[in-house]
Subunit: 384 residues, 2 copies
């Protein structure tokens, strides 16, 4: 009888626990808490925090990518740390310090490989996604920037010191990848982006004016310089923060591009790469992100205007609305089908959730100096 | 002591079980087994079946959508059944027979509402995604086709008998939705599609030539007729199967469209809606799907050519390859970032998995007369 009672009691406690743990991972996310080296695990559906993962080292400018099953994240820290975390158990699974200074990474389209772009010692290192063991080391004699996962188990990256773009092809042999090296891209690439179809790799240049596009649909890849007058052309206006190229948007055949050092959004025709319009903004733009339906572009700003957001009409290029969520709006992440947007309000230690139509506040989550917000649907997208 | 031993034994058996169950849901999928009224649960990463969910009624022409957390699927059966299944526990959670004959459904962009388009009694019924309780009944005096989830918690649907398009807006009051009714769309819409940005709703017409586009970015929505000579214009060639409009593809500003009753793929400029090219094919096309990077369009065929697939170059419109996976290739589903494609080979009771670059066979899964394949990443996409 006692045994039966114990079993019954255990059934009561273990069965609900099992049910509690079983859950889908499509509506989860991670928020980088840079100063405390931690990640906040959040549930989009509940608009709530589920818990925290600690011990990730230096997370300033950290970014992360997700495994195809949306259970694990790979976090790229400024200290060269590559950390694999389990968002279901909320634990660090593995951690390696793989370089002296890393700035970003990518996961291959088959989910097997993690590539990290390094400042120190430069080049790219590729790791096994399961074990984090080194699979390939690709020195390039340069710091590397703007790494992305190109279709076909490839990675693409730009080199700061040598002005090149390298395409690393792991489809035949992960340990001995094929290399395509494109020279003469321009002086000092500082960042790059790959469009979501994997076709266009756009490289931003620090050392000269203009930008470079690599069209990966052509064989060999086609290199085009464009916007020859674009760049830091007003030396009396300091650049408070170089805009991320990941902050560009391709909406209905038109790029929306945060202008470096100007209070403007530039609209560029994607077919002929010429400027078609400019929108005057409330400050120096950092991210210009299309709402997932692309009908609007949402913009945040460098200091001293980083308390604001502006919403711009994709068709008319007019500012529709100016919002002031609070001090230090560092990052925006849209729900995958665009119903709501989550905003990091760093200096107020909170994340604000807004309806993307009414723009009303729907909820708020406490977080420690939050910066990047990453929802798990990124696992299914190219170039993030 | 005995209690301790029992506890220890239970720990051994329950803890591994718990670990086994914990898993991400981003790489799962469901395959419709139409003749047995069952769903095969599959794991993309393992290229394997995990189990089967039975008791779903008549699944001919069945389709399904996923909850935002990628745990639950809502299955729309031909018998009017709306079934909610849990892919983690592999059980039917709820089932209602909501109409006499239904042909498809959609989930709102906030994940709260399920809409079903009905032949009998016609119109659209909207259900609570959690409970499957009726939230709104929208009679339209017509059979309805081509229902899709438009951004902003809206549904859009076409009416077969009356040639209209209805937009049902649940953003203010789910139980009393706002209705926008567009008349004069054309005679007998038989299917429709919404592009992935939610902008263009394309309606196919059975009763007259040509197609109709609704531009949802305009206010009011802009209605445009196009391809006035398109349709069944060769009466000596029977149409074995009307192509699904969901089989259209928008790749780099160009629609690839399976021509009704012809052995051709039509290429239509999305900006001005005029035909720009045709590709000769090996049979009557059914689905023309872009690989997720859009560099290729993959086409399957109506009988007697439904053992084949053709791969077409998006830029040159040339056929690159003809594959013969086997008898009854009914459906293709790409991995979200396009690394592989899964093919239903119905008459051979198997699903074949191919590399989308080398086009080699990577694996095979036994299934009972498989038709539709649905991966969970659809939860994050508009218009599916």
């Amino acid at each position: 009888m006692m045994l039966k009672a114990v079993l019954a009691a255990l059934m009561l406690t273990t069965t609900p626990a099992l049910t509690d743990e079983l859950r889908g991972t499509g509506d989860l996310g991670l928020i980088v808490e840079r100063e405390t080296g931690s990640l906040l695990v959040v549930d989009r559906s509940e608009r709530a925090a589920l818990g925290r993962i600690e011990g990730l080292g230096d997370l300033s400018h950290a970014s992360l990518v997700y495994s195809p099953d949306e259970r694990f994240a790979y976090v790229f820290g400024r200290d060269g740390g590559l950390t694999k975390v389990d968002i279901l158990t909320r634990q660090v699974v593995r951690r390696v310090v793989q370089a002296g200074n890393s700035i970003g990474g990518a996961i291959s389209d088959d989910g097997q490989l993690i590539a990290v772009a390094n400042y120190e010692p430069g080049g790219v290192r590729v790791f096994d996604a399961e074990t984090l063991e080194l699979v390939a080391d690709v020195p390039m004699g340069s710091k590397t920037v703007g790494i992305a996962d190109a279709p076909g188990s490839r990675f693409i990256v730009a080199t700061w010191d040598t002005g090149e773009v390298w395409i690393i092809d792991h489809s035949h042999s992960p340990a001995q990848p094929g290399i395509t090296r494109l020279k003469g891209i321009g002086a000092n690439p500082y960042d790059a982006l790959l469009t979501s179809d994997g076709r266009r790799y756009i490289v931003g240049l620090f050392g000269e004016k203009g930008l470079t596009q690599i069209d990966l649909w052509q064989d060999p890849p086609e290199v085009t310089r464009f916007l020859p007058d674009y760049g830091r052309d007003q030396p009396d206006m300091p650049v408070y923060k170089m805009p991320h190229l990941q902050g560009w948007t391709l909406a209905d055949g038109v790029f929306a591009l945060p202008a470096v050092g100007l209070h403007q959004l530039l609209w560029v025709d994607a077919d002929n790469l010429t400027e078609i319009a400019r929108t005057e903004l409330a400050g120096q733009p950092v991210f210009a992100l299309a709402r997932p339906d692309r009908r609007e572009v949402w913009v945040n700003f460098a200091p001293p205007d980083n308390d604001k957001l502006q919403v711009v009409n994709t068709l008319t290029h007019e500012v529709l609305d100016t919002l002031t969520p609070g001090k230090g709006v560092l990052h925006m992440e849209f729900a995958p089908r665009g119903r709501e947007v989550w905003l990091s309000v760093r200096d107020e230690n909170r994340v604000e959730i807004r309806d993307t139509r009414s723009r009303e506040v729907l909820g708020e989550i406490e977080a420690r100096a939050p910066s990047g917000i990453f929802f798990t649907d990124r696992a299914h997208r190219t170039g993030l």
